[in-house]
């Protein structure tokens, strides 16, 4: 058995691969988060809107996303969905970074479903009288939501949303199956090139752990502040 030696990772090609993978993973998380939050707000509002039809649409979205594994979502958005587009669009899309686009699409839709549920509990924690007061003062459903209810709900939902972000961070690793060169992909690449599996995965685990602990710390701080 080879000796455990992290040094060979800390210079040259292997380090560059791993660092670029880590940066791409962080980018995947950041972009997905920026896209998923507004979408989640929309879905949560749909589920509480004064219309049976809209409620059903919101519920259907959440169930569809949550009851299919993320891996299947990723494979669908990479191998399946783009094939349904007209040829000209397809060519334009394939000429770009289709791997990352598919990964962000799948992660965004999946994460938004979970975040919508956290937001919904946040929304439900606001006393219904506030909503009635808003309507009584002449605000529309959307205006009441936007000006009075959502800001408070977001504050209440911040800790669970951060914990969803933690899930999102770990879920970015699945993007390796569709060829996105994120941290897990680069780790496997180092492993294939060097056969130093233990060291490569120790690095990846430490990186995932460090970012996760950071997020968990922020969540704990927020929890104290909100409570």
């Amino acid at each position: 058995m080879l000796q455990f030696d992290l040094n060979f990772l800390l210079s040259g090609d292997y380090r560059d691969w791993l660092v670029s993978g880590l940066l791409l993973s962080l980018q995947l998380m950041a972009i997905t988060l920026l896209l998923a939050l507004p979408l989640a707000c929309g879905v949560a509002v749909l589920r509480l809107a004064p219309s049976r039809l809209l409620n059903a649409v919101g519920a259907a979205y959440v169930e569809l996303m949550r009851n299919v594994p993320l891996l299947a979502h990723l494979l669908f958005w990479y191998f399946g969905a783009p094939e349904l587009l007209p040829d000209a669009w397809k060519e334009r899309l394939y000429a770009g970074n289709i791997e990352a686009v598919s990964a962000i699409t799948a992660l965004t839709l999946y994460t938004a479903a979970y975040m919508a549920e956290d937001l919904r509990s946040g929304l439900r924690a606001i006393p219904v009288q506030q909503f009635e007061a808003g309507r009584a003062l002449g605000f529309s459903f959307l205006a009441t939501m936007r000006l009075c209810i959502l800001p408070q709900a977001l504050r209440l939902a911040a800790p669970p949303l951060l914990s969803q972000t933690l899930n999102l961070w770990q879920n970015t690793s699945i993007a390796t199956v569709i060829g996105v060169a994120e941290l897990m992909y680069q780790t496997q690449r180092v492993e294939a090139a060097s056969f130093r599996s233990v060291e490569a995965f120790v690095f990846a685990s430490a990186a995932y752990l460090a970012v996760s602990l950071l997020l968990a710390g922020v969540a704990a701080l927020l929890q104290k502040k909100v409570a």
């Binding site: 058995m1 191998f79 783009p82 992909y185 294939a192």
Partner: protein
Amino acid sequence: MQTRLHFAALLFTSIAFTQVAQADQLATIKAKGELVCGTLGTDEPNSFIDAKSRQLVGYEVDLCRAIAKSLGVKPVIKQLAVAARIPELQQGRIDILTASLTHNKEREALIDFSLSTFYTGQRVLVKKSSNITTIAGLAGKKVLTVKGGTQEPNLRKAVPGVDVVTFETAGQAYLGLQQGKGVGYVDDEVSLLNNYAKLGAAQKDYLVLPQNISQEVFAFGIRKGEAGLKTAVDKVLRGLEKSGEAEQLFFKWYGPTSNVKFQKRSFKIDSDKIDA
């Protein structure tokens, strides 16, 4: 928290370094009455699942069975991912690797190899619409292949500046090419020709680039230092070559009636040496 972390780290490394201690693997194989061969199962015609019988079959599967028969034990075929082959062997979960395994110098530091069982090269399949006709034309283009094999490093060596995207299986990479997600797909010659053959009428839209990107020699992987097992496996392989059975097996899977349609066999199973 601190101690818990330390404990987790300790646990992780101790699992990683646990190795199965055995005196002599050949004796162990005979005692348990089975030879566990690790194959890919996704690489026709070396090892793949037959559409009719739903069984794992192929050139390497037949060779594994022949070796087990000679040793007087039962063959057990286990499927492995490309990238998991060498770790699975090192950790003792399989006895020998019969998994489209390239014999190269880097790997000699980690495992031993049997006599070479197959000689091939790696090729590139492109869409004609890409107007690429040479290996050099792939520079700066997106080329798809399987993760964890020698395809990616060989391609990068042959075409500096190529943009490689890798997948869990060769099938996914090949599907990516068909969908236009890259201009080329790289694989071992036989797997590539086999996939090319399955295109049928659509073959006119594709081109197998004439040059190889590398020379590959396949051999069976054996855990380091298991001289007894290596001698036994090599002896069986030499016997198969001598009796003509090895050649029969070659033509059964690669010959004119197969998808890859090789007319002749340009090698013999008689050496475990490779060029540097």
